[in-house]
Structures are given as C-alpha cells and as structure tokens.
Symmetry: C3
Subunit: 396 residues, 3 copies
C-alpha cells in the first residue's frame, strides 16, 4: 500500500506545531512543516485517484472571506473543504472596504460558532491583508478560550498583501513532481520576473511568495523587474536569509534576458510597484479619490514603458536547453489572445498549457493538506486508517 | 420490494452509452436511454418517499453555471446534487457576456478539479449556449485525459438555445404518470402552441425541446404559432423524423383553435421568433445597442398583434372531452393575475395548479437520474443495493 | 452519561405539537414546548463539545429566504443546518419587494421539493413578514398533502415584523445559564429599554419578542422608551397576560432611569416607532417615495431628541449591585466606537463583551433544536442514540 510511504515520510518529520495552528506565511514554517504539507497533499490526491474518501469531518463549516474577486482560489478552497467534509459558507463583506478592529473581533466570532477553518483572501491594501488575518485569528483564539467557540477555527491565507502560500506551495509541489523530487532542485535556476500586462496594479503576493519560498530549496532564484517595480524589502531580506541557509542563491536584476539565461524555471508575471501600492493604500485611507486617479494614471504611463518585458519564444530559447519550465498562477495575459500586448507570447503559453493546468491542480490538495495538518493530531495514522477503511468516494 | 421492478425494467434496456457521458439534447439519446432516465427517476423518487437515502457520493462537487436568471432550475439542480451527495458550487460569471474559446477551456478546468457534474444554463444567444456546453465538455474531457482532472465531470444541459432536456423530460414523466404508462401515449394529440405574453423575447428551448421529444412516443404533435414565430428549422426536421419513426405525427398550423381541437394535452406558452433572436445575437456580437433597441421595439409591436393567442376556458372546452391536460414550464403569465393579458385565463390555470406543480416536481428526479446514469456503471444493481442498505435519509 | 439528564427532562415535558410544525411566535408555544427547545439546544451543544456528531440527515436542504441583510442570523441558520446534516440553499429574491399571494404559493412549492426546513427573515414591513411566513407554510403544507412535496418543510422564523424567536430564545437560554436555571428567574427585574442610535428605523421584533417571552418566567419586565416609541399593542397585551399567568409583572415607563433602577438584566436597544413603521409600509404599498422621504426626515428629527437614552456607566451603577447582566442582539451602536453617540458607553460594552458573544453563541443551537423537534418524533430516544452511537464529528 503506497500510503505507507507517506506514513514513513511523515514519521521522519517534525510538524507538530502545524496542529491547531494557522497557515499565514510560508517563512513562518520550518522545512519539515512544508514537507509535511507536500506529503499530505500527495497522499490526499492518491486517495482521491483511488476513489477512497478522505472525509474526516462528519459536519462542520469552512468559512471563506474573499475581499477581492476570485474564481480559481474560491473553487480550490471549496474543493478542499468538500474533500474533507466541510461545507463552505461565504461571508460576503463587500469587496473594497478596509476592516476595523471592533468589527473584526465581533464578526470573527459571530461567523465561527461552527467553523473549523476560515480561508481569507485580502490582497488589496499594503499593510492590511495579513494584519487582518492575524486579527481574525486572535479573535477566534480568544473566543475559543472564553468558551464562546467550541473549537478553534484555524486560518488559511488564501492570498494577502505579503504572501500567497497556497499558490506558491502548489507551484512548488508541481516543480517537485516535474523534476522528480525535492532533492533534484538544488542549484536549479528559477527566474521570477516581472512581465508587462495592460492591467497594471496586480498584487505583489505571488513574486514575494515565490522568492520567500523557492529560496529554501537550494535553488538559485533571480528576481527580475524594471527599475521602480521593487517588491517589499522585508521579503527580499527573507529570501536572502533563506538562500544562505539552503545553500542556494538569491539575486536581483533589471534585465529579463539576464534572468532567463540558462534558467530551469521561469515565472514571468505582472505586478505593481510596492511603493505605489503602499501610497494607494494611504490615499484610500484618506478617501483621496483624486489622488488615487492621479496615481493610477502615473502607473499606467510607467507601465507602458515596459512592453518589452514579454516572455517570448526568443527568450525561452535562451533558457536551459531552451526548455525551462514555464510557470504562471493564471490567468495569464496572453499577447494577441486575452490582450494586444501581454505577459507571454501565445505559442509559449500554448506549449505549456497542460503543465500550467497541472500546476493549478495541486492547489486544492495543498489547501486540504494545510487544513488536515491543522486539525488532525496524528495525520500519519489517520491517513493509513483512511486507506484501510477504504470508504468509496463514489459508489459505482 | 418495488425496486426490483425498476431493476427488471433497466435490465431490458440498452443504456451503457449514458455512462461517463453528457446529457445535452434528448434527440442525441436512444429511446432506451430515455426510458432508463425515467426508470431511474421513478426509482429515486420511490427511495425518497420511503426515507431511504440515495446518496452515492461521500463527497464531490456539482458545479452550476447559470448564464441567465433562474430559481426553479437552480433549486432542482441543487436538490438533485444534494440527493446524491454532491455539494453545489456556483460559478457566477455575470449574466450576459458571451464566452470565448481560451477562457472557456481554462475556466472549465480550473473549476473542475473536484467536480463530478457541471450543470449549465445558457439560453440567451442563438448558436451560443449549446456550443458553449460542448466547449466546456471537450475541455474537461481533455483535462481528464491529460491528468489534470482526476475524474471526468459530466454535463447536464439545464437549458440552452436549442433544447431544455431536464424540463421536457420532467414534462414527459408527468405525462407518462398521468396517462398510466408510455404505452398509453400512442396517438394522443399534443398541442405545443404559442401564447401571448407581455414579456416577449422568451427562449425557444421549451417549444423546440417539446417537439423534439414528444414526437418520439407515437403522439400526434401539433406546433401552432402566429406567422413569424417559427422555431429553429433543424429541430422541426428532427420532429418530422421522430414522428415517422415512432408512428406518430408532426403537424404545423397558424391556428391555436386548430391545435386545441380534440387535443389530449396542451402546452400554450410564449416564445420569441427564432430569426429575431438570431438577429439579436448578431447585434450583441457587434455591440450594436441601438440595433437591439430597434429590434425590441419591432418585436413588441409584432407581439401585441397576437393577444388573442390565450388559453381560454372556451378553447379548453374544444379539447378532448374538454379536459386536455394543461402543461406549462412555469412561471406562466396568467391574465389578470401576473399581467393584464397573458398566456392563460386565471380559471384554467387554477384548475390545473396542483397538476402543474406535480409536473415541476419531477425535474429534480430527472436531473438526479441523468447524473446517476452518467456516474454509475451498473445502476440496476446499485439501486437494489441502496434499497437493501436502507440507510434512512432522516433518522426519526 | 449526561445525555440521560436531557432525556429525563424531555420525558417530563409535553411537546408533541412541535413535531411536524413551524416555529413562528414564542407565544404560540406552551411553556413545556419552550423548555423542550432549551433542553435539546443544551443537549446538542453537549454533543458538539464532546465531538459527537448530531447529524440526523443523510441529505436534505435547508432553504433560507433573507428579505433583509443578515450576517449573524445567516451564519446561525447555516450552522444549525450543517450540524444536523442539511445543506443550505439560499433563495435570493431581492431584498425590498413585498411578495404577493400567487407568487408566494408557487415559489414556495418550487423551492421545496427536497427542503426539510425553510428559514425566513422578513422584518421590513409591518403586517407583512409574519403573514408571508404563514402563506409559505400553508403553501407547502398543501403541497405536501397534494403529493407535490414528499415531505412537509417546516418553517423557522428568523425574524419578522412581530417577533424574533431565535434571538429571544437564545437570549433566554443565556439568562438561564447565567442565573443557574429557570427556577432562579422568578422576580428578577428585566429592563427592555429603548436606546439612541443614529441609525433610526431598526426593527421592532427584538423588544416585542423580549416582552412576549421574558414575561413567561415570572420575571418583572419593564418596557421603557421615550414617548412616541410605542411597540405593537397586541404584543403588549400578550406580555400583560403572560405576566399574570407566570406570577411576574409587566410594566411600562418613559424613563430609562426608572427601568434600570435595581434591574437584574438590562437590554438597551434602538427601535423605530411602531406607528411610523406602519405608515412607512403603507407608503411603500402606494409607491409614495416622497412620503417615505418626508417620514424618514421626521423620524430622524424625533430620534435626535433622545440622545440621552444611552446605557452609561452611571446608569449601570443604579442596577442591582451595579452588576445587571447587559444584553444585546448585536451589533450594538457603541458611543465613540461605531458611532459618535450611540446605545451604550464603550466601557460598559467592553466589560460585557465575552458575555455578549456567549449570548449570541446560543443561537445556532436554538435554531438546531427547533429543527430537531420539528423533524424528530421521539427526540429523547434519538439524542440518547446519538450519544450511544458516538460518531465523531471530526476524526482526529
């Protein structure tokens, strides 16, 4: 039984701090803890492929709070909840408001009487999204201690202003499978590069999350972007530290060509300048809508100067054997398809389509694994028991 | 045990092609396949009436995509999913946009990682709705082959520009029960007739679906409408062919009175002219909103000329023994109740109210049966096992 | 086994009329019936605290109809449904329309083919909300008799123009636990008092529900409000009758200070004048939007005259030992926090925060208990069986 492999792997890892805990930033987790998430994600996928139910909840709610529009992550969260037996209940708060202390504490408790998990996406405002998640977490932990909530709902960060852990962990699991194991990632070159998109103003959580996670596996991670498109410097510091500890490298450049040269993996994607996003947040707090308009105009002008940052066939040919693994969190802005000029040439995207969809397919399992490890004290035994029980997911 | 009757019935039918397949148009299915849907629908209803669970999914998603407003079909789909153990997850795409190739392929995969069934309603644009369903189906079949999706989500057409199979199959099951069996339908006269409604512009899927399905049972189907209210000619061709094969008849007339005369069943309902709807679709594609406005004005004028197309007591008296079975997909435009002048006189509607609600009550079971037959390899055995297992739906 | 205590309690009560019935107004229920709801709510909470599943539905729908915005009650209903095994399906009808007979009857049946419970919030229009619930109830009872619906969906009033039974029953269960049993409530003084809020126009269901319920336990209930803020006189009559029968008192005053003096429990909360709300309903029916605007202006002016109706520290000191139990249905308008001047001083609210959240935490269990008792013939045995079965809610 292949489930015994996952059991053996888990038995070698120290991950007890995941139990009854949140998953907010990958760099708050140890290497063992991340490995445990990958192992459980693979085990859950294995169960599903063999029509074995992974339902561990007889009832219970997974509450989702999306403070930005989402289809992919919403369905991934719903899939993960459903797989484990939780029913999704959406809190529809209106998209754009910035939440305040009092309301957060109260609402967090009011929606959590029977919530086992809370998934939050809040990526619009610098300094706000991750902070909001921590407020919610503290509120429900206190509510649990005070006897208001029978259980402690644990949080999963479905994208914040700093990190996008369910995305990057899914990306990483994809890479691990593609290259045949974590061990094979040492010294692989990964280019996390900015790319042009007409829809400027995209969140920074993916590039930040990628340099914060991928530097932990001994890879050589290059962050490339035009001048002015810097990401959060705190996350760069984490990348530097990670690289040192893992025996990898973290480099920066303002040249897409340099980043692509001989790369094993490329991740070309648009994002907004961190400082501009920070300024936008401040303008929102001051309700300065003229200021926001002016800023957006400025950003569009700046953005239009960099249409040459496109993942072309020509650039792809410069990668390792011309065959770097192309990554994207989707949807991509495909030149001539979803927009006139975009992040990637259509023929490049087409060649990698199946791989891109596979990359995305890991997300529900990553989320389910995060939940599983936060709810189950002895996951190695329970996984084995689920396999033994062999309850069919669908009777056929 | 009455479930053995359904088993015996199913054992006589050849319906293996329903397995792992979509249900898009009734005329793509054989008579045996339709009979299997009716038999399973009845069996599932029998289970529920006896408080026996028909849950075959331990977990799994039923994704619904409604590209037009819906209450009845939405609840019928949700009920069917719930009965079998699937949780509904809505994809809210915005109502009026016409989807494109790239997006369809990607979105279809992104929402389907754990989807067993996808139900789609897309009836607004001629040439688009059914085509969209086929695009989604191809995308997820390919996704399954490529190892992106662990299972193949099968599609159920919840109403398109061509057919409304869950509606007409429910109508048909109602007729079968009303007249005491399929065998009794031979030579029964069914009048599918246009009727006036102030809300012009209703979809053509019901009249088309009715003439495409009801002509298969040896009935004499009359399609009646004012000049200019023609339906899709391809579906008329199918009706002609069906009637020939089943020993029935398919006739057309521009007289409501002629259609009603001596009819056993009447189905008076408003719809929009096919050619006008086709033109409207083209105008939408060209973003010609002035053209659309002009067209709508023209249609309203044309519509107002036919207020005499009403299902009155007087007309009902001309049907077989004055007692034809009155059908409607609901909601009906009832004269003096939901509008000043409408499809049907209030007293006629009132007399048939209970029967109309019963007609509608078959839809959840028809949808559940379509899903059941697309997911279960040996439905005759599984139904028997569900009966034997006798898991109570509710513990009392 | 503590569940035996609940069993013994239930065996002493006569509550068979709750079976297969709606829960619309507390004063339609006997004392035994209310006690049964409290006992089952406590038992269900006990099960959950011990990780024992209370799932009695293998499948089934809980339909929710919210004709006013809601977060708390929505999540409480969803939690209760989920706990018992029902999946929530929302009917989104648009918030503000007043429903009519024909549509109600039809829609009620169309959404109920597989609905076990229907929860409705409709509190906006005087004379409408509760009446609407009764229309829905009659429609589905008839539908069940006519063979359209396999089961009778039972209704839970999630707030109407008259009563808010799930709120006040939760409030009451909180009081019972706080004071150590129903027996200890005799002669306790409860002050249900109006309080100022900038958002004038709040529903009357809470004060009405409170005086209609709390007068049944032998308490001394004082209703206090400024002149002109009268509640529905029919409910006052019920409070008078209740107080007489229970050996308690029902008093009225226009002085907040008088109400607070020596009170054991205070419930300061804003509401709109009954007569004004009645007039507003009439204006809506006449589509007299100028009239509505004029009325709102008038109400705002009237409202602003009573900013001194605030639950202050000073007032709290006048209550029994300065320690009355402070109640609120939440969210409260907290002075200097959620608004400049509001219902309650921030320091008072803060001191009672945990207790307020606990008060709210009873609501999902109260709703679940109402459903349980309407669906289960012998709840005492079933609760014992659930305990014996010991199916874990989550496998850990």
């Amino acid at each position: 039984m292949i489930l015994n492999d996952y059991r053996r792997k888990l038995e070698q890892l120290d991950f007890e701090k995941l139990y009854n805990n949140d998953f907010l930033l990958t760099w708050e987790k140890t290497g063992d803890e991340l490995d445990a998430v990958f192992a459980v994600a693979d085990a859950l996928r294995h169960l599903r492929e063999n029509n074995v139910s992974a339902r561990i909840f007889d009832s219970g709610l997974g509450v989702s709070i999306f403070r930005d529009f989402s289809t992919r992550t919403r369905f991934s969260f719903a899939s993960a909840c459903n797989m484990l037996g939780l029913e999704v209940q959406d809190l529809d708060e209106g998209k754009s408001q910035i939440a305040h202390g009092e309301t957060v504490r109260e609402t967090a408790n009011m929606i959590s009487f029977m919530a086992d998990v809370i998934g939050i996406r809040d990526d619009m405002y610098i300094g706000k999204g991750n902070a909001y998640m921590r407020e919610v977490s503290e509120a429900v932990q206190q509510g649990n201690k005070d006897g208001i909530l029978e259980q402690r709902p644990t949080l999963v960060n479905l994208q914040c202003d700093i990190d996008h852990p369910t995305q990057t962990m899914a990306d990483m699991l994809h890479i691990i499978h593609y290259f045949g194991g974590i061990g094979n990632l040492k010294r692989k070159k990964l280019a996390m590069t900015w790319a042009y998109s007409p829809s400027y103003g995209k969140p920074l959580s993916v590039p930040q999350g990628v340099i914060g996670l991928m530097t932990r596996m001994g890879m050589e991670v290059v962050l490339a972007h035009p001048e002015g498109y810097e990401v959060m410097s705190e996350v760069e510091d984490i990348a530097i530290k990670n690289a040192k500890e893992s025996g990898g490298k973290f480099m920066k450049t303002n040249s897409m060509a340099e980043a692509f040269a001989d790369a094993d993996i490329v991740y070309p994607k648009s994002w907004a300048p961190f400082l501009a996003m920070k300024k936008r947040t401040e303008l929102y707090e001051e309700n300065d809508f003229d200021g926001i308009k002016a800023l957006e105009k400025e950003l569009l002008t700046q953005n239009a100067n960099h249409k040459d940052w496109e993942c072309t066939e020509e650039l792809m040919r410069t990668t390792k054997d011309g065959k770097a693994l192309y990554l994207h969190c989707l949807p991509a802005d495909i030149s001539g398809v979803s927009c006139k000029e975009g992040e990637v040439e259509a023929s490049v995207f087409d060649r990698y389509r199946i791989l891109l969809y596979k990359e995305a397919s890991f997300k529900p399992y990553i989320i389910a694994a995060m939940m599983f490890l936060s709810k189950v004290k002895n996951p190695q035994d329970l996984l084995a028991n689920l396999g033994k029980r062999g309850q069919p997911r669908i009777q056929v």
